[in-house]
């Protein structure tokens, strides 16, 4: 096989020199960094999941059984904060750290030492947040939004809240810089032949994600600094300014936590349908429009405050359905007429498409101010965002994990355990979160540790708690699958799925600087081009 292109050579030796604990602490190889960030987020995911089980245990029946009101506040706050700041956001970037250089034919990230620095900030930020549990007043108890003046020292005394604020600043500052590193890699370190319109769809989702991080995360840092200044130096701020700053970060962040997983699904759908991705250009431009709109909708979190331009934000929030529709159309168009292989990655991708649709359609409901006035702060909203983040993004993530695990480790995950994991997770997810739509519609408010005996509330809450147990079981099956697959390895080879993008050209796992040569690159799917050329001759 003749290589038409040669990637930019590196001056460092091609084989890894860094091993053992030094590699764990100090390796700047983007693959190692990506996997370490993945593992760190996985640990935080388990911690956040245990906190979720505590929350659900308390809510299983009316009355206070497991936790005090104060403990409940701390635990649901740390659950939400962990999942957003320490799990899904970093996972969205970890995928980019691992995959972007491989998909654009680069030997490494643009600034690998800076990326390592950011990964350690992530470790430090999470630890600082969790150390709050050891303080007299406990960890931060004000919800992941920490609205002012609730988060002020007058209403939330104690150093645990200070630690929460500082931990959020450190972790998110790291993610902000890491996003810059990923974007710089995409814009400035592509291999010869990889033009911007030959980037794989996943890389495009990282482009829009990192752009959004760069312009929205500074608002979060400013908002958290406001809380810190208020608490430590008795500054006073208009809560409206905090609200705007927080949600100017908060809503784009929903899409930061969505686009990379959409990118995973797009790659999986194309490969497991045996087709070129349908409507590539439409997808690229709709991603840019989607990202622009997602920057313009934050005011819908403030409808009921009476202090935002509701007409504008209702217009932009509803318009999101158009951009999302283009992406769904592209996905369905890719599957349509393809020779679909229903392997575990594809199962997760299909579930993502169906379940995220539930989250998206209920989003249109709360995008309407009159309906939001009624549903605001109820469990309907909790169900909606868990259908987007858990039933959507997490399923997209698992599609990506099952798809790229062979590339990262050189071993296949077990298909049988993968299917068991999939079906348990589908069951657990829908059992946990669907009853919340009904509870919210019936008026059960969120962020409360107890609720009265009304109608079917106890039954629905019990079902939801049972579902969370099924999710925990599914997680154990996944961990067992990873353990068994790494202990008793089934070799994957370079390209077990007939992949289309550059990462499948190199070995599994890839060598230190990824490539010794590259195939001719004439589109965003160079390996598919190569296979089609071979079939034609």
């Amino acid at each position: 096989m003749t290589a038409a292109e040669t990637p930019a050579p590196a001056l460092a030796p091609p084989e890894p020199r860094v091993r053992g604990w030094v590699a764990l602490v100090a390796s700047t190889d983007h693959k190692s960094l990506g996997l370490r960030l993945f593992a760190l987020s996985g640990i935080y995911f388990l911690a956040g999941g245990i906190l979720a089980l505590l929350v659900r245990s308390e809510l299983a029946v009316p009355g206070m059984q497991v936790l005090s009101h104060q403990e409940y506040n701390e635990i649901f706050t740390m659950h939400g904060s962990t999942m957003v700041y320490l799990v899904v956001q970093p996972l969205a970037l970890a995928l980019g750290v691992y995959l972007v250089p491989l998909q654009i034919g680069a030997p490494d990230l643009a600034a690998p030492r800076l990326a390592l620095f950011c990964v350690w900030l992530q470790v430090a930020g999470g630890l600082v947040m969790y150390l709050g549990f050891l303080t007299t007043h406990g960890a931060g108890p004000d919800g992941w939004t920490a609205y002012l003046p609730l988060a002020s020292s007058a209403f939330t005394p104690g150093s645990g809240m200070d630690m929460w604020v500082l931990g959020v600043i450190v972790a998110n500052a790291g993610q902000l810089v890491l996003a810059g590193v990923i974007l710089a890699t995409i814009l400035l370190r592509r291999a010869p032949g990889v033009s911007m319109l030959r980037l794989p769809v996943f890389v495009w989702t990282e482009v829009v994600t990192t752009l959004m991080v760069l312009v929205s995360f500074p608002a979060l840092l400013a908002a958290m600094t406001m809380i810190y200044l208020e608490r430590q130096f008795s500054f006073t701020f208009d809560p409206n300014i905090y609200l705007n700053l927080f949600w100017f970060y908060g809503h784009p962040n929903v899409y930061v936590m969505f686009f990379p997983f959409l990118g995973c699904v797009a790659e999986v759908v194309a490969v497991f349908s045996g087709k070129r991705f349908f409507g590539y250009s439409a997808m690229v431009f709709s991603l840019l429009a989607f990202a622009m709109l997602s920057m313009s909708v934050w005011g819908h979190h403030m409808y009921t405050t009476g202090r935002s331009a509701n007409e504008f934000f209702a217009l932009t929030s509803t318009s999101l359905a158009v951009a999302a529709g283009v992406e769904y159309f592209d996905m369905v168009g890719t599957i349509w007429g393809g020779s679909v292989r229903l392997r575990t990655p594809m199962l997760f991708a299909l579930a993502f498409l169906i379940q995220f649709l539930v989250g998206g359609l209920t989003g249109i409901i709360v995008a309407s101010p009159p309906l939001d006035y009624s549903l605001n702060d109820t469990y309907f909203v909790v169900a909606h965002f868990h259908y987007t983040l858990f039933a959507g993004s997490l399923f997209g993530l698992f599609a990506g994990i099952y798809y790229w695990f062979p590339k990262a480790t050189g071993a296949m995950l077990r298909e049988g355990l993968g299917r068991l994991h999939f079906w348990l997770l589908v069951l657990g997810t829908n059992l946990t979160f669907f009853p919340m739509f009904i509870l919210g519609y019936d008026g059960m408010v969120r962020r409360v540790a107890d609720y009265p005996h009304i109608g079917t509330w106890e039954l629905l809450n019990s079902l939801s708690t049972a579902g969370s147990g099924v999710i925990a079981l599914a997680t154990l099956v996944f961990i067992a699958n990873v353990w068994i697959s790494l202990r008793r390895r089934e070799p994957a080879g370079n390209d077990p799925w007939e992949g289309q993008t550059l990462e499948w050209w190199t070995t599994s796992p890839p060598p230190r600087h990824n490539f010794t040569d590259l195939p001719p690159i004439r589109s965003y799917a160079p390996l598919l081009d190569l296979r089609q050329e071979r079939e034609a001759t």
């Binding site: 930019a8 590196a10 001056l11 460092a12 030796p13 860094v18 590699a23 602490v25 100090a26 390796s27 700047t28 190889d29 490494d108 690998p112 030492r113 800076l114 390592l116 620095f117 990964v119 350690w120 470790v123 430090a124 930020g125 630890l127 600082v128 150390l131 150093s159 630690m163 500082l166 450190v170 814009l187 370190r189 592509r190 291999a191 911007m196 319109l197 752009l211 312009v215 929205s216 608002a219 430590q232 208009d238 409206n240 300014i241 705007n244 700053l245 100017f248 840019l288 429009a289 990202a291 622009m292 709109l293 920057m295 313009s296 009476g306 202090r307 935002s308 331009a309 007409e311 504008f312």
Partner: protein
């Protein structure tokens, strides 16, 4: 469109268009001709559109800088790539300690700042070593 700077610029312009619409809405387009008396009158009307405008401007500026550099984003060069950097990890841990000190006391802030300074010193030393490597082997 082949230039990488085009994309952040285009995205910044899109956000700018959205911001222009928000300026109009925030200053009473839906209430034109009458004084605002509904529950959705905008408090501090400049705040939200200013945030969105700043985001659009930042993205557009990034695009313009890239366009001004005339880069096509293709990496043809030969350059050293670091394999490890203990100093970067030390600098980040120092920042974590300093942050924790912000809640528990200035003594820990001082330790954290010291560790960070040591880490930054190490990063500078690594940078100089990289420059030396590039000088010795400038490549083809």
């Amino acid at each position: 469109m082949r230039r990488p700077g085009f994309w952040p610029l285009a995205w910044g312009i899109l956000i700018g268009a959205s911001a222009a619409l928000l300026w109009a809405f925030a200053y009473g387009l839906p209430h034109a001709g009458s004084s605002c008396s509904s529950a959705t009158c905008v408090a501090q009307p400049a705040l939200a559109p200013a945030l969105l405008s700043a985001a659009g401007l930042a993205s557009a500026l990034l695009g313009l800088v890239l366009i001004a550099r005339r880069t096509d984003g293709i990496d043809r060069g030969r350059r050293p790539i670091a394999d490890q950097s203990m100093a970067s990890a030390v600098a980040a841990i120092g920042i974590g300690l300093a942050a924790l000190g912000g809640a528990v006391g200035s003594w820990l802030v001082e330790i954290g700042v010291g560790v960070t300074a040591a880490g930054i010193g190490g990063v500078v030393r690594e940078g100089l070593a990289m420059r030396e490597l590039r000088r010795r082997d400038p490549g083809p």
